[in-house]
Amino acid sequence: MRRLALLLALVPAAGPALAQGLPSLPVFLNGPAHLDTGNTLGGAAPYGNPVADDRRYANVFFDQFEGRLANGSYFRWDGQGWVGDDFNKLWLKTEGRYNADGRGLVSDGDHELLYDRPVSTYFDVQAGVRSDIDSLRNRTWAAFGVQGLSWGFWNLELTGYASDGGHFAFRSNASYDLYITQRLVLQPQMEANVYSKADRGRELGSGLSDIDSGLRLRYEFTREFAPYVGVAYQRFFGGTADYRRRAGEDAGDLRALTGLRFWF
C-alpha cells in the first residue's frame, strides 16, 4: 500500500486528516514541521557526518624479524608503520641488523620518516628524511620515493636519496606472496642499494653496493602472526665488497633464517 503515500504526497493539501491529531498527510511528510528541526535543507550537514569515511588509522608491520644463522649469526629487522587517513599519512620505516658477535653492535641501520600520499590506484609517493643511525658514522638524507602494488602483485618500494655533500643514493625493495595453500605462503624478496659516491665512514663503495635477497616460507596462523623459515643471500659489490674483504668477510653470504612476520 505505497499508493496512499505516493498519491497523497503528489496532491498537495488534499490528504485526509490523520487520526490522533496528526496533520494531513502531505503536510505531515512535507510540511514545515519537519523542515525547521535544524535539519536545514539549505545548509550542509548540520549534525556532522553520518559516516566516518575520513577517520584515522594506524598500522605497524614487520616483514622481517628474523635470526640469520651461520658463522656470526645476527638478527635482522625490517619494519614499517604509518598513521593517517586515506590521503595523508605519516610513514615510518626502519631496518637494520644487530650483530651478536660482530664488529659493530648495530649495522645497516636505515630509518626513514616520510609523508605519504596516494597518487594512483596502487601507488603512493613518499617524501621525507632518512637517517642512517647505527654503530658506524651517521648520515642524514632527504628521501623521495614511491611505494605500492606493482604489476603482477609485486610489492615495490623505490626510493632516491640526496645528502648535502652531493651524495646520492637509491634503494629498491620488492616482494611477492605466492599462496601455496590458503595459509602457506612463499615470499621471494629482494633489496638493492646504490650509492653515487664512496663513503669511508659507512664502509660503502660507489655504484651498486649490495643486494639482500630472501626466500621465506611462512605459515599464517592468522594474517597478523606468521612464523617463517627461509634463506637469505647477501652479495656485496665493488668498494663495499672491498671493505668487507679487508675485515675478513666474503662478498657473498648465504644463510638460513627463521623469524616472524607480524603486523597490528
Partner: protein, 604 residues
C-alpha cells in the same frame, strides 16, 4: 517473570513478555517455543507476535553467546536481535527509544516511507539519541509487508542492534496462508567491527580464505591449457584484482544466524503436512549475501521488499544485504526440511528447520561451488570467450574452463545464455562517461552489461530454478505513470586495495548532496564499476526497478547491483529532507559509499 511467562493461561501475558523482551533473550530463556513465538505471525495453537502501536525500546550494552563464547553485544530490550515489531497499515505508531549505551545511537526503520526526522540516521536526519536520552518516533504507517529496523550509527548494527518489522495490511492480505513466520538472517562477530574495518584497510583480502593458489593454477592449466590460463592471469596481474575476492568479512569471523540462533541451535518453524507456510526472509546482515534454499520444497516468491509480486516458483534465491523476500512453501510430507542459507563466499551458513514437530532435523546440504568473478564482472566480457562461468571447484580452478570451453557440458547448451560471460551489453546514458582509474577507482570496465536476467555468480550455472530481477512482477501496477523528466546517473566506485568506497569516484565527505524536488519524476541509473555486488539502499522513497515488466515493475528499497552491471529505476521523492543513498554493506558505507539525496520543497 520467568515463571509468569511459562504459566499456561491467557496468551496475552506471554505475548506481551515476548514482544517486550529481546527475541534472542526470550529464546535462550524459554526454549524452542518461545524462539518460534518471537518470529511467528500466524501459528495455530501457539503464541505469536502481537500487533502493537506503542513500543518502549531500550538500547543498551549486554552480552550474547551465539558464537559459543559470551561476548559483549548491543541489545534492544535486553537481547539481540531486538523484538519483532508488528504494526498495522493505517495506524499511527509511537516508538519511545531510550539510549542506555555510552554512545549516540539512532534506530532506522528500513524501507518505511516517513518524514525525514523519523528516519533515524544520526549525523544527517537528526542529531541522534545521546547517552541517557530518549527519542520519540511517531508516524503514520502508510504501507504493509516485511521490513526490518536497525541502528544507523557507526558499527552498532553489527553488534546486535537490529530486529524484524512486520506490517499487516489494512485490508485482506493477497497471500493466504496457514502459517506465517519471519526468517531473519544475520551475521555475528565477536570482533570489534572497527577492528574489522582496520584489518581490511591494512590487508584487503584479510578474510578471504578462498584465494586461488598454486594448485588452482595447475588444475586450470590441466583443464584449459597453458595459453588461456596465462592470458587470464596476465590480465589479473595487470588489474591487480583477485577474482576470488567476494566478501569481507567472511565465515572466518562470522557466525551466521537465523532468527538470532546459530546453526547448531536450529531455529524451528512448525507445519502440518499440506499447510501453506509463508516464510519472510529478511537479510539483516552487516555484510553478507546469502543463497537460500529449502531442499525438497518448491518456494514461491510472493512479496519482495514489502510489496506483493506475482508468485515465482524457484528452488533458490540470492538475498542481498537489507533485502526481504517472502516465500510460500507447501510441505506435504511428514518430515523435517532444512532452511539453508549459505554465504556468498561459501564460508559458512545459517540454518533452521521447518518441521512437523520440535526437535526434528533434516540433512544439511554441502556447500555449492564458490563464485569466482568472471571477465564480464571485470568489465571485459568476451575477452576470455563468451561462456565463462563465474564459479570455481574446491581447488580454486574455474568450472567450465578458463575460456568457458566446457561450459556447455556443465549447463547444457540451452542455458548458456544465463552465464556470467554472456550478458546483453548495456548502453551508457547520454553524456555519461565511465571513470578512469585512480586512487578511489580501481576498475575501468570496458563493457557494461545488463544482468536483470541472471541471478548472479555462482548460481547461473546450477541446475535449479533461480530468481533474477526480471522475474519480479508487481501485483499492483505502478502509481506514477509520468515519464521521468531527467536522469541521475550514479557510478558505483571503489578501490578494494585501499578499502575506499564511494560513488562517482568520491567518498561521502568529498562531495555535495544530489538535489531533487519533491514530487518530481527522475530515472536513477546505477553503473557498477567494481567487481563486488553492492546493495544500494535509498531512504524515504521507492525505487521502481525497470526490469522489463512495464507498469508492473517492482517497488524496491534496496537494489543489488552486480559487478559491471547497469540498471535503472524510476523514482518519485515523496518527502522533503536529507535522505541517505548508500551501499548497505556496513564496511562499504562506513568507508564512504554514501550520498545524500536532498529532497527540496517545490517552491525552493
Amino acid at each position: 517473570m520467568h515463571r509468569n511467562a511459562r504459566r499456561p493461561g491467557p496468551t496475552l501475558t506471554r505475548r506481551r513478555f515476548v514482544a517486550g523482551l529481546g527475541a534472542a533473550a526470550a529464546a535462550s530463556l524459554l526454549g524452542p517455543r518461545a524462539a518460534r513465538a518471537a518470529y511467528a505471525l500466524k501459528s495455530p495453537g501457539e503464541a505469536t507476535v502481537p500487533v502493537t502501536t506503542a513500543y518502549d525500546l531500550v538500547v543498551a550494552r549486554g552480552t550474547t553467546d551465539v558464537s559459543g563464547a559470551v561476548t559483549a553485544a548491543n541489545t534492544i530490550n535486553g537481547g539481540t536481535p531486538g523484538p519483532t515489531l508488528r504494526w498495522r497499515e493505517g495506524s499511527v505508531v509511537t516508538l519511545n527509544v531510550r539510549n542506555e549505551m555510552p554512545e549516540v545511537t539512532g534506530l532506522h526503520w528500513h524501507g518505511i516511507i516517513l518524514p525525514n526526522d523519523m528516519d533515524g540516521v544520526p549525523g544527517l536526519e537528526f542529531a541522534g539519541i545521546a547517552p541517557g536520552e530518549s527519542y520519540q518516533y511517531r508516524f503514520p504507517v502508510l504501507q504493509s509487508g516485511t521490513y526490518w529496523y536497525h541502528s544507523h550509527m557507526g558499527y552498532q548494527e553489527q553488534k546486535g542492534l537490529y530486529g524484524a518489522l512486520i506490517i499487516d495490511p489494512a485490508g485482506r492480505d493477497f497471500v493466504e496462508v496457514d502459517r506465517d513466520y519471519v526468517v531473519m538472517l544475520s551475521d555475528w562477530t565477536d570482533e570489534d567491527p572497527e577492528d574489522i574495518q582496520n584489518k581490511t584497510k591494512y590487508q584487503s583480502d584479510y578474510y578471504n580464505f578462498g584465494k586461488r593458489t598454486v594448485t588452482s593454477f595447475f588444475a586450470d592449466v590441466e583443464r584449459s591449457g597453458l595459453a588461456p590460463v596465462m592470458k587470464e592471469r596476465f590480465h589479473e596481474n595487470g588489474s591487480r584484482m583477485d577474482p576470488s575476492g567476494l566478501e569481507a568479512p567472511s565465515g572466518d569471523t562470522y557466525t551466521y544466524l537465523m532468527n538470532g540462533l546459530p546453526p547448531d541451535r536450529n531455529w524451528t518453524a512448525l507445519f502440518r503436512p499440506g499447510e501453506r507456510v509463508r516464510l519472510r526472509f529478511i537479510n539483516a546482515s552487516a555484510a553478507t549475501y546469502y543463497d537460500v534454499r529449502i531442499p525438497g520444497l518448491d518456494m514461491r516468491v510472493v512479496n519482495v521488499h514489502g510489496n506483493d509480486v506475482v508468485p515465482v516458483a524457484v528452488d533458490q534465491f540470492r538475498i542481498g544485504v537489507a533485502e526481504t523476500y517472502d516465500v510460500v512453501v507447501r510441505p506435504t510430507a511428514d518430515r523435517a526440511f532444512t532452511i539453508y542459507a549459505e554465504d556468498l563466499g561459501r564460508s559458512g551458513f545459517a540454518r533452521g528447520t521447518l518441521a512437523p514437530r520440535d526437535g526434528m532435523q533434516a540433512e544439511i546440504p554441502a556447500h555449492d561451488p564458490r563464485p569466482l568473478r568472471s571477465m564480464a564482472d571485470m568489465g571485459m566480457q568476451g575477452m576470455m570467450g563468451k561462456d565463462q562461468i563465474g564459479a570455481s571447484y574446491p581447488d580454486g580452478s574455474r568450472i567450465g574452463g578458463i575460456m568457458g570451453e566446457r561450459s556447455a557440458e556443465v549447463t547444457g547448451k540451452r542455458n548458456l545464455g544465463k552465464l556470467a560471460g554472456r550478458q546483453p551489453v548495456a548502453k551508457l546514458p547520454d553524456g555519461v562517461a565511465l571513470d578512469d582509474t585512480g586512487v578511489e577507482v580501481q576498475m575501468a570496465p570496458k563493457t557494461i552489461t545488463d544482468r536483470t536476467r541472471t541471478p548472479g555468480d555462482g548460481l547461473n550455472f546450477l541446475p535449479r530454478r533461480e530468481l533474477s530481477f526480471s522475474d519480479l512482477r508487481s501485483v499492483l501496477p505502478a502509481v506514477d505513470d509520468r515519464p521521468p523528466t531527467r536522469t541521475i546517473t550514479l557510478k558505483l566506485t571503489g578501490n578494494m586495495q585501499r578499502m575506499i568506497w564511494g560513488f562517482d569516484g568520491k567518498k561521502y565527505t568529498e562531495v555535495a548532496p544530489i538535489d531533487v524536488t519533491v514530487g518530481e519524476r527522475f530515472r536513477l541509473v546505477m553503473i557498477n564499476e567494481t567487481m563486488m555486488t553492492h546493495p544500494i539502499h535509498l531512504h524515504g522513497m521507492w525505487m521502481e526497478l525497470e526490469n522489463g515488466q512495464g507498469r508492473h515493475r517492482p517497488y524496491l528499497h534496496t537494489l543489488s547491483v552486480q559487478p559491471s552491471e547497469r540498471l535503472s529505476a524510476l523514482v518519485t521523492p515523496v518527502a522533503t529532507g536529507q535522505w541517505p543513498l548508500h551501499c548497505h554493506i556496513l564496511y562499504h558505507f562506513e568507508a564512504g559509499m554514501f550520498r545524500t539525496v536532498r529532497v527540496l520543497p517545490r517552491e525552493a
